[in-house]
């Protein structure tokens, strides 16, 4: 991790994003997709953002880039407030932040060659014509490991992994400081996934990039992230150094998520203890009172149903929002879990 500056590159405080679902009859439903989120991303750092589908992680990434309207809160990139920018200023700033999307099949315009797609940032921000930008397009393709001769091909001529490389090339064009990778590898086969992750890692080192790496696959995040943030129902429940979060999760939800990951070793898979969460993610429009995880949590206490736990420091790094860390006993493992077993065990 490099921290040449003491200030983080990205500083998010109190971020809220609300979507309104208009209906013809009856009241408008509003869903708070992102709820009071704080986090930082250092220079050259990768922050992994994990959670289940519907947890708001993708919306968070889009809100950083102002691709969805921010309801309230502050997002700063290198000290500059983004939420107040308008029109041309916003567009200018977008050169410094780029995004790589999940679906390698729809993130490239099917009606245009990939070379032309990569030209777009040069055209928009540097006013280059296609011919002027072309040498740099070819350079970029080679940088991401594709032959320059492929520039005149159409997206449908590439495999998923190759398309994702093209998307990365386009994102790199203007030397951004931050790249938001939104499930950038989840549509790929494991082996291809690893190649793309390796590429991202090399590029980060070479260009001092920062990543917000959004993924639902915790094992993949483990390989790329320096720090990890866990989201549940629009809220951040835990943030911390990857090492600590994976070894000693402080939030019951993180613990459950980790235990749900299949272990690729039948020996250890058999030995390990698994926590099976019951029920589904609640309706985001109608979250439970108190802690959002309370109705699926094996440790839930009375206070959890009454108030949202505040973010508190975890002893060995990071923060967590859980009453166990403030009023209750620390989440230490077996003792407490066994005590609760009688409450929820249905198996």
């Amino acid at each position: 991790m490099t921290a040449s500056d003491t200030d983080p590159l990205v500083r998010v405080r109190g971020l809220n994003v609300t979507f309104a679902q208009k209906r013809l009859l009856g009241p408008t439903r509003s869903v708070r997709a992102v709820h009071d989120i704080d986090f930082d991303i250092g220079r050259g750092e990768t922050l992994g953002l994990v959670g289940e589908s519907g947890s708001g992680k993708s919306t968070t990434g889009r809100a950083l880039l102002r691709l969805v309207p921010v309801e309230s809160g502050s997002v700063q990139l290198a000290g500059q407030e983004l939420t107040k920018l308008r029109g041309g200023e916003l567009r200018k700033l977008r050169a410094a932040m780029q995004m790589v999307f999940q679906d390698p099949y729809s993130s490239l315009d099917p009606s245009t060659t990939v070379g032309a797609s990569i030209t777009e940032p040069f055209r928009v921000h540097q006013g280059l014509s296609r011919n002027q930008a072309w040498p740099r397009v070819l350079e970029l393709l080679e940088l991401v490991g594709l032959p320059a001769s492929h520039a005149n091909r159409y997206p449908y001529e590439f495999s998923g992994g190759q398309r994702q490389r093209i998307a990365i090339a386009r994102a790199l064009a203007l030397h951004p400081k931050l790249i938001v990778c939104d499930e950038a590898v989840s549509a790929l086969d494991v082996s291809t996934q690893n190649q793309v992750i390796n590429l991202l890692e090399e590029l980060r080192a070479e260009f001092e990039l920062s990543y917000l790496f959004i993924a639902h696959d915790l094992a993949v995040v483990r390989h790329i992230a320096h720090r990890v943030a866990v989201m549940y129902l629009g809220r951040l429940v835990e943030v911390g150094p990857a090492e600590r979060v994976y070894e000693r999760p402080a939030h019951p939800y993180t613990e459950a998520l980790l235990s749900a990951i299949p272990v690729p070793n039948p020996q250890r898979a058999g030995e390990r203890e698994r926590i099976v969460l019951h029920g589904d993610l609640p309706d985001p429009a109608d979250p439970p009172a108190g802690c959002p995880f309370q109705n699926r949590c094996g440790y839930a206490m009375d206070i959890c149903r009454e108030s949202m736990p505040p973010m508190t420091e975890v002893a060995d790094g990071g923060t967590v929002a859980c009453h166990l860390q403030t009023t209750g006993p620390r989440l230490a493992g077996a003792v407490l879990r066994d005590a609760n077993l009688s409450v929820g065990s249905g198996q």
């Binding site: 289940e52 589908s53 495999s159 992994g161 086969d189 494991v190 082996s191 291809t192 996934q193 690893n194 190649q195 992750i197 390796n198 890692e201 639902h216 696959d217 915790l218 094992a219 993949v220 483990r222 390989h223 790329i224 992230a225 320096h226 990857a242 090492e243 994976y246 459950a256 998520l257 980790l258 235990s259 749900a260 990951i261 299949p262 272990v263 690729p264 070793n265 039948p266 020996q267 898979a269 058999g270 030995e271 390990r272 203890e273 698994r274 926590i275 099976v276 969460l277 019951h278 589904d280 993610l281 094996g298 879990r337 077993l341 929820g344 065990s345 249905g346 198996q347």
Partner: protein, 342 residues
């Protein structure tokens, strides 16, 4: 809430349920006939969970669909081989008999619970329909059975949920409903084609739990098609690894992970993301899976193989015995010492 689940090998009663031998399937493409399955052989025993693993394009889904004669034709055609359900060859039986077997003796669960249920009918109707068809049951009995199986797969308030439409279910519940549908006629074999790939990990672990308990309670055999070796490690008794339309290795799950005998298996194992640590560089298998119309000569994995020799590309490699209960398709089987999972 939590389960410590060893993979119980189904000892003793292991009688053969399904045997596929030398199954060949071709697809018509713009490049002519392409060989998608090049002689696939595998067997499943009663109450056994067999994992069928491979990357996209390896032919694992086509294998699953072939068993029930569901490979779309055109463009597909079966050009050889047999599928024995006990002493009946499914490649030979007439369509009406096949329709008796589907959903009754062998049923199937698909990858996308969102699109695999018909949005225009209630979940209960779709389950009871299967039961009515195979058991000549009344509408009332069908609904009753639907409630029973929905309850069995852990859908709360099954008696009311039976009247809900698929869009009123979450992704995980829909997959449960699909499993309920597959179970409603007590099949001997369930073919599950990537049933958890579209789901979140927490939901995935619920579904895996469910499948395990179904096997324990009902004794159904399961052919579990997946690309995720982690899931295989958690669920399966035996593994069949496919590459380029061929079985390249088959072994009991512990043996496969401990000591792979085919370089492709080794590659897959080393590419598995590990929770352990943030490694410097992730392993990957170079190159791409071959297109079915451009299969390499000799060993189909040859061009991507680190142990490749010229002799590998000369003639097709046979699937050979590689120890007790296991086989591998590698010309250098005897000399290679491959690395297992950490």
């Amino acid at each position: 809430m939590r389960t410590g689940q060893p993979n119980q090998p189904t000892g003793g009663t292991a009688s053969e349920l399904l045997r596929i031998s030398e199954l060949r399937v071709d697809f018509a493409t713009e490049h002519g006939w392409a060989n998608v399955l090049g002689g696939v052989s595998l067997d499943i025993h009663d109450g056994e969970i067999v994992g069928l693993v491979g990357e996209s394009g390896s032919g694992k889904t086509v294998t699953g669909l072939s068993i029930l004669g569901l490979v779309p034709s055109p463009p597909g055609r079966t050009s050889g081989g047999h599928i024995w359900l006990h002493d009946e060859d499914l490649t030979e039986v007439a369509e009406p008999r096949l329709r008796q077997i589907r959903g009754n003796e062998i049923s199937m669960i698909f990858q996308e619970p969102m699109t695999s249920l018909n949005p225009a009918f209630t979940v209960g109707d779709q389950i009871s329909e299967t039961f009515r068809r195979h058991r000549r049951a009344s509408r009332k009995q069908g609904t009753q059975r639907a409630v029973e199986v929905l309850d069995l797969v852990g859908i709360p308030n099954a008696a009311t949920r039976v009247h809900a439409y698929p869009h009123e279910f979450s992704g995980g519940m829909r997959q449960r409903a699909m499993i309920a549908m597959a179970l409603c006629c007590d099949p001997r074999l369930i073919i599950a084609d990537e049933p958890t790939t579209a789901l979140d990990v927490t939901v995935q672990s619920q579904i895996l739990d469910l499948l395990r308990s179904m096997r324990a309670e009902i004794g159904t055999g399961i052919l579990f098609i997946t690309h995720d070796l982690g899931v295989v490690a958690e669920l399966c008794d035996r593994v069949v690894v496919m590459y380029g339309g061929e079985v390249v290795e088959t072994a009991p799950v512990h043996d496969l992970f401990q000591l792979p005998r085919h370089p492709y298996t080794e590659g897959l194992l080393s590419a598995m993301p590990q929770l352990g640590s943030r490694t410097a560089k992730l392993a990957s298998i170079p190159g791409h899976t071959p297109e079915p119309w451009a299969m390499p000569n000799g060993c189909r994995f040859g061009p991507r193989c680190t142990y490749h020799q010229e002799s590998c590309s000369e003639s097709p490699v046979a699937l050979e015995s590689a120890g007790t209960e296991r086989q591998a398709r590698c010309a250098r089987l005897a000399e290679l010492n491959l690395r297992g999972a950490s």
